[in-house]
């Protein structure tokens, strides 16, 4: 039975027992508490289901919901700058009115009806520009929707805008966007993480309900951790990449952000499955993830009894913030309280992941970005000669991080270096894949921090690319192994006006997102004293 359907839809509450929590409207706080008197800090609920109930019970129209959500989006936008493109309100309202007409006609408007979905700007949308955060695609409008976007729309979802990102996904802070820097909703002087920083910040600040991101080396999971939201990187091949502007094709995955595990799972369910336009998309069945969720009220005392959890030793080692380590250790204790057996496991090849990842990713990207030549679309400079046209268009169109990676990738694939770099990195990749397989044969899930630190200051690592790359240590191995991983907020460290969230990464076996979501949901619903709503969220929407 669906847990969420048993629960009353509840408002987004900001009051928590968290010491730094932000309160502005005591009356609403009071109301929230009276609604759920048993728990002063109720766990996150599915906003998608709340919207669905509101629509189907005719308590609110889709148009009303869209308008109130848009108002909140616009209120936060000048401070956060999460979005690169926002369509006219009229266009969004037209979508909403169509949904209302369907509801009025007694039809099911779809499981995502009325849900505002943010879409990372490297995922193609036919009705607004898709620039991948790059000057070279400024104003570019794709003639088609990415498969994931198409599926979201088919299920009633409303694409509310395109979210900011590091250019072509190359970065971990969203500072490498050619257009703007996005702020972290928990502390506006900090980065939201990257490269899907806009998508993470938008969900964190409740500018949209859920969002799509892309994860090549951690670009969904690290910003989810920095922004205190749930982020899911599915198994490679689980979600079609058609319409995702390629960074590193063998590592890229479209992922999901939500403010609850349930919403994240619902979004994954909408976009997952085989697509005949992506030869690497899997034909594996997509289970109904929602049926894996168990209601808190019907949980046994040890709901995860027998689950074998492996804490990756190399991820709680030197170089990881003490606050992060203690948050992860606390999470491990929480797993034990839920009945799991938690053991430390060692993945000796773990540290090899970073260099192997960067060689493979830059190699593939040097190839994937060749098409941005200024000939057919995008930024083109005037030139007398073909070579200058190429050189000029690319020199002006690409940012410095992208240029650096193209140069590194071109070098790694060059004759005479191929064997030493690309081929060797592929061998390392095989070793890493095997070591994960081994670890996952002895453990049901593996856990680690999602990032070695919480969100850092804007500009802090901008001139130190190696330090920034090193921040990807927790996540890149999962992409190399092609496995699914769920990041959910598990605690806080000191910093900012109200503390900074820390994300827990759970890694599962290939195509076992269902288990990650089930375990993540129980973890989330039973975690006490943590309310992951950032201070910027001051208003409330009653669905």
């Amino acid at each position: 039975m669906l847990l969420s359907t048993l629960q009353t839809p509840r408002s987004l509450s900001r009051l928590t027992r968290h010491p730094h929590s932000f309160t502005s409207r005591a009356s609403l706080t009071h109301q929230t508490q009276t609604l759920t008197p048993s728990s002063p800090s109720p766990p996150p609920q599915s906003e998608i289901l709340s919207i669905r109930h509101a629509l189907l019970s005719r308590r609110a129209s889709a148009a009303d919901l869209v308008l109130s959500q848009l108002a909140r989006l616009r209120l936060a936008e000048p401070r956060l700058r999460s979005f690169l493109h926002l369509p006219d309100d009229d266009a969004l309202l037209a979508h909403a009115r169509r949904l209302d007409a369907r509801i009025a006609a007694g039809e099911d408007p779809g499981p995502l009806a009325g849900v505002l979905v943010g879409v990372k700007d490297n995922i193609c949308t036919a009705d607004m520009p898709s620039t991948a955060g790059s000057r070279i695609l400024e104003g570019y409008r794709a003639p088609f929707d990415a498969t994931a976007v198409k599926r979201v729309r088919e299920l009633g979802g409303i694409v509310v805008g395109k979210t900011n990102m590091d250019e072509f996904g190359m970065g971990s802070t969203t500072e490498a966007s050619a257009f703007q820097v996005t702020a972290n909703p928990w502390d506006e002087s900090r980065v939201p993480g990257g490269s899907s920083g806009g998508s993470a910040a938008a969900v964190s600040a409740r500018q949209c309900v859920v969002s799509l991101g892309s994860d090549t080396g951690g670009s969904v999971r690290q910003p989810a951790s920095f922004c205190g939201v749930v982020g899911l990187k599915p198994t490679y091949g689980r979600v079609s990449r058609f319409g995702l502007m390629a960074y590193a094709s063998s590592l890229d995955a479209i992922g999901c952000f939500g403010s609850s595990v349930a919403d994240t799972g619902t979004l994954l369910h909408a976009i997952a499955g085989h697509d005949r336009f992506d030869a690497t998309s899997s034909k594996q069945d997509v289970p109904d993830f929602q049926s894996h969720f168990v209601a808190v009220s019907s949980l046994e005392s040890k709901p995860l009894k027998g689950l074998r959890v492996g804490l990756i030793r190399e991820t709680i080692d030197d170089g990881v913030d003490a606050g992060v380590i203690s948050a992860i250790r606390a999470a491990a204790l929480h797993f034990e309280e839920l009945g799991c057996s938690v053991n430390e496991v060692s993945l000796p090849s773990f540290s090899l992941g970073l260099p192997a990842y960067y060689i493979l990713a830059v190699s593939e990207s040097s190839s994937n970005l060749s098409r941005y030549d200024g000939i057919r679309y995008g930024n083109q400079v005037y030139a007398d000669e073909l070579d200058s046209l190429y050189g000029g268009s690319r020199a002006q169109g690409f940012g410095s991080e992208v240029k650096m990676r193209i140069l590194m990738g071109t070098y790694a694939l060059s004759a005479g270096y191929y064997d030493a770099y690309y081929k060797r990195a592929q061998q390392v990749r095989t070793i890493i894949r095997n070591s994960f397989k081994e670890a996952l044969s002895q453990n049901d899930i593996l856990i680690s921090p999602a990032a070695p630190s919480a969100a850092y200051k804007i500009g802090e690592k901008k001139n130190d690319p190696l330090a920034m790359y090193a921040g990807d240590i927790m996540t890149v191995n999962v992409n190399l192994a092609g496995l699914p991983a769920l990041v959910l907020p598990c605690g806080f460290v000191e910093g900012g006006p109200s503390g900074l969230p820390v994300g827990l990464q759970m890694i599962g076996a290939a195509f076992n997102e269902g288990e990650l979501l089930r375990v993540g949901h129980i973890f989330e619903q039973t975690l006490e004293n943590c309310k992951f709503v950032p201070p910027i969220v001051v208003d409330d929407i009653a669905y």
Binding site: S130, L244, A246, A248, S367, I375, L386, Y390, A415
Partner: protein
């Protein structure tokens, strides 16, 4: 090691090209030569050579030998392109058959058209190759405006087929003989688009209709020694792809493109000379002539002690002046930075699948030629009949009805071929069926009709169709084989021409033909010629 060699072989025509100027010449030239050539008509795949060319051949000193290898690109006749659902038809308006995938738009991904694997395996088997049961696609990277993704999806170190051979019968007029040429590899790849240059040279436009069209590249061993051998190799390859139905093999439309590598060395020297690549070969005869020109150019330089002027370069065949000119020198090797295509899964073949394709292969030209040869047909007949699969099928179908091979071959090669040529029809378009041809031959052989009448009926059958029996009945054409009836006619002619009878009996025996003609005319051509002559002679001679 092998891969580095291949990198050097695989040089894209227009990479490292400083300006588009020469490319422009190439394009214009290509269009101009297209209009004037008709080399690949199905009936004329035999290589024609001009007398000037054979003179040049004679000039080549006997103490040099040429080493020639050929890279052939064959465009596959799949309904859709290699990685998207766009159809391709030659000559469509520019950019009328394109989609986000073959345009290389951001976010678009290739999905392999599985027909390409079928075709590649077919050709690989037909070329007696080893198949790679586990191969893959790779990206070959270079910048050119006709290459929308900035890389070509190709195969690099694991081509689908390797180490085969192709057997060729050299036509008698070129010395005859049976040659076997090695095949280094066959691999799958996609075609690029085309550039269209403005007449004033101010701008160029990109037409992506051809981008993503599937190709098989066939690389030969350097086994050819002169232009004729190279042209015959190419012609046999064309025959093969047409027999297999994997391509229309049309050279003018660029469905079959040959780039040749030519080097020379003094006989006895084991080291290869410097290799020169020749492009822009739009017909088999230009393959042959360009190679022979290039050989004599190199031999001349070498024999004058100027072999250092033979440099590794790409030269262009100029049809107008019948010579090769420098197109682009190769300064260092291009680095295509090949790596495995991550957007496409590995290409895995099962033994069952390969066996299925093997069993579905048609009889291949070489096998067919050997079979025809064993029937006692001359090599000229064999080459003609086996050249075009449709003609060979027609021939075989006629034989299946019990007709004599030599007679059928004669009919097809003389009157039927002439008719097709005059009417510009293919053998599939004529109204004559193999059944009726067989019937016709049987009717002549059995004496029902004369061979003269047979020819008349043949043209009727070719143009209008119908059956031999119907025509014979309708036109009352059955041969008169009754001696009494013929005797009556002979008597009448003798009686009507007393003067000529007298002359004949006076020794002018040549007049026999006159009498025979008159009797035949009287019989409306139906009298059995043998019987007629026998009776006529008896009558003429008996009263002398």
């Amino acid at each position: 090691m092998a891969s580095t060699i291949f990198r050097s072989l695989q040089v894209h025509p227009f990479l490292l090209y400083p300006t588009t100027f020469l490319r422009r010449r190439n394009e214009v030239f290509h269009l101009a030569s297209k209009a004037t050539q008709s080399q690949t008509d199905t009936q004329q795949t035999k290589v024609t050579t001009s007398s000037t060319q054979s003179k040049k051949l004679d000039k080549i000193p006997k103490d040099y030998e040429a080493i020639i290898g050929i890279e052939t690109h064959v465009q596959l006749s799949t309904l859709t392109k290699a990685f998207c659902g766009c159809p391709y038809s030659y000559g469509s308006p520019p950019n009328s058959s394109i989609c986000p995938i073959c345009m290389g738009l951001p976010g678009a991904l290739p999905v392999l058209n599985s027909k390409i694997i079928d075709f590649a395996v077919k050709l690989g088997l037909a070329l007696n190759c080893n198949l790679a049961f586990n191969s893959k696609f790779d990206r070959k990277q270079y910048f050119y405006p006709d290459l929308p993704k900035g890389y070509q999806i190709s195969q690099f170190d694991v081509p689908i087929a390797t180490a085969g051979f192709l057997d060729v019968d050299i036509p008698v007029e070129f010395g005859g003989g049976h040659k076997r040429f090695g095949i280094t590899r066959v691999h799958m790849e996609e075609d690029a688009g085309k550039l269209l240059h403005a007449e004033n040279g101010n701008y160029s436009q990109v037409d992506l209709n051809r981008a993503g069209v599937p190709l098989l590249e066939i690389v030969s061993e350097p086994d050819m020694r002169n232009g004729i051998e190279a042209a015959e190799y190419a012609a046999e390859l064309q025959r093969l792809v047409r027999y297999l139905g994997v391509s229309n093999g049309n050279m003018q439309e660029g469905s079959l493109r040959c780039d040749v590598n030519v080097s020379i060395r003094p006989i006895g020297q084991s080291k290869f000379g410097t290799k020169v690549e020749i492009k822009n070969l739009n017909s088999f005869s230009s393959v042959s002539r360009a190679i022979d020109f290039e050989i004599s150019r190199q031999v001349q330089l070498h024999s004058q002690g100027r072999e250092d002027q033979i440099v590794q370069e790409t030269r262009l065949w100029e049809e107008g002046s019948q010579r090769t000119i420098t197109m682009r020198k190769k300064e260092g090797l291009a680095d295509y930075r090949y790596f495995p295509e991550p957007d496409l899964p590995a290409v895995i073949l099962s033994q069952e699948y390969v066996d299925g394709i093997k069993n579905s292969l048609p009889e291949l030209p070489e096998i067919k030629r050997r079979r025809y040869e064993q029937m006692g047909l001359s090599m000229q007949d064999v080459l003609f009949l086996a050249n075009d699969k449709n003609i060979a099928d027609f021939f075989d179908a006629t034989l299946a009805k019990g007709a004599d091979p030599k007679l059928v071959a004669n009919w097809i090669m003389s009157d039927i071929a002439a008719f097709m040529k005059n009417e510009k029809l293919t053998i599939n378009e004529i109204k004559l069926t193999p059944e009726e041809l067989s019937e016709l031959i049987a009717s002549i052989k059995g004496g029902t009709i004369s061979s003269k009448i047979g020819k008349e009926i043949l043209f009727e059958l070719l143009a209008k169709g119908g059956t031999v029996k119907e025509l014979i009945e309708k036109k009352d054409l059955v041969q008169i084989a009754d001696p009494v009836e013929i005797e009556k006619m002979v008597d009448k002619i003798i009686a009507d021409n007393p003067k000529q009878v007298e002359q004949y009996r006076g020794g002018k025996t040549k007049l026999q033909g006159f009498f025979a003609g008159q009797v035949m005319k009287l019989s409306k051509g139906k009298a059995n010629p043998g019987l007629l002559n026998k009776i006529l002679l008896e009558k003429l001679n008996s009263k002398s």
